[in-house]
């Protein structure tokens, strides 16, 4: 088993490859790492020169890259499928809550930046390689972009052998069976598909004495209030698991294998895991 770890997309990435160490495996791992970097350069909202940042600034891209188009299309399809529980237009709401730079740079505690949530649900048009945002609409593709990157990298790494790609909890496997720790004492063995966890137990900060976190409720434009602390979801792909985990956290009716951790410390298995 070969393990490679590195930082990408603001999180720790692990590549696990079940293959003999050698030049072929090394090349595949190098390609995988480079692919994360390439996708981050397209999808990051924190890099001023990324394709997404240019789109958010200009409101329009007439020749977007296929990756950006694909992720935007996936995000819009997810918004429709979840009745708006997942929404890629939460960018301004995140900024209003204080998440306006990479999480490492967000001050743990500061004065309130906004008392009202920002509007979500902005209109996004995609036509071929042209993406157009309605006035005042900006995209955050952080979660789904990470899931997309995990799926893409897993697909390419699988050429070298059974593999698992884990980007800060969003993970996908190709071939083999992989025991994955979900909670203390709870391990799920994933042999196909993807898994993701969404919650308010990490990526949180305080503004004006009020705790904030990164899961925005699109209906209020503010960090979501939920009886759940976190939700882990298993789906066909990491991108889909990411979407469904957010939807489940926000109370959506999600019919997939999932683990819910409640505020009073209970762990509930559902969707066939019971």
């Amino acid at each position: 088993m070969i393990l490679r770890s590195f930082r990408a997309m603001g999180t720790d990435v692990e590549l696990l490859l079940d293959a003999e160490a050698g030049e072929r495996a090394e090349r595949a791992l190098d390609r995988a790492e480079a692919e994360f970097e390439d996708l981050e350069q397209v999808l990051s909202r924190f890099r001023p020169d990324s394709e997404l940042s240019r789109l958010n600034r200009d409101g329009r891209s007439a020749a977007a890259s296929p990756d950006l188009v694909r992720v935007v299309e996936l995000a819009l399809a997810a918004r429709e499928a979840t009745d708006g529980l997942f929404d890629p237009t939460v960018h301004d709401a995140l900024v209003a809550a204080g998440y306006d730079r990479t999480f490492e740079e967000v001050p743990t505690e500061a004065d309130a930046v906004s008392h009202q949530g920002a509007a979500c649900g902005g209109v996004v048009h995609v036509d071929g390689l042209t993406i157009e945002l309605d006035s005042g609409t900006r995209l955050d593709l952080g979660g789904i972009g990470k899931g997309y990157a995990v799926d893409r990298v897993a697909e390419s790494l699988a050429v070298a052998g059974p593999c698992l790609v884990n980007a800060g909890g969003d993970l996908a496997v190709r071939g083999g069976s992989w025991p994955i720790g979900v909670e203390e004492g709870l391990t799920l063995e994933l042999s196909r598909g993807g898994m993701a966890t969404s919650g308010r137990d990490r990526r949180r900060w305080v503004r004006g004495g009020v705790e904030q976190h990164h899961l925005i409720d699109p209906s209020t434009g503010r960090p979501a209030e939920s009886e759940l602390v976190r939700v882990t979801v298993v789906a066909d792909s990491a991108a889909e698991a990411e979407v469904l985990a957010k939807a489940a956290f926000l109370g959506g009716d999600v019919d997939v294998p999932r683990v819910l951790v409640t505020a009073d410390g209970r762990t509930v298995l559902a969707g066939g895991l019971e």
Partner: protein
């Protein structure tokens, strides 16, 4: 002259008869041919394999029949669970299905994890 030739022919004929008789006796046509022990072993082995194959086929057929029965029961259970689920789900509830999750495969195990998932 004639008597002499007759005698010669008689001697030659006697010699031929003698050698033919000798060859016939030397060939021991009354002795049965000895069987090669390797062929015997192979024949035994073939019989054993044949018996084993018959047994395996019988066991496989029994297991297949048991599997078919279990499969039918399971399919019936799934169909009835689906029907119950459809009846129990209110039409107005938003059902979140970006894509069918049937191909994902997961189970709870009692193994040390290779990695962990956490809030991303």
């Amino acid at each position: 002259m004639t008597d002499k030739s007759h005698r010669l022919y008689a001697v030659v004929l006697a010699l031929v008869v003698f050698f033919v008789a000798w060859a016939a006796v030397a060939a021991k046509p009354w002795a049965t041919a000895k069987t090669d022990p390797r062929i015997t072993a192979l024949a035994l082995r073939e019989q054993r394999l044949h018996a084993d194959a018959t047994l395996v086929q019988r066991v496989a057929a029994q297991r297949m029949a048991a599997y078919q029965v279990a499969l039918k029961q399971r399919q019936a259970q799934i169909a009835s669970a689906r029907a119950r689920s459809l009846q129990a789900t209110p039409v107005s509830t938003a059902s979140v299905q970006v894509a069918p999750a049937a191909t994902a495969s997961v189970r709870v195990v009692n193994l040390p994890p290779l990695t962990i998932t956490r809030t991303s």
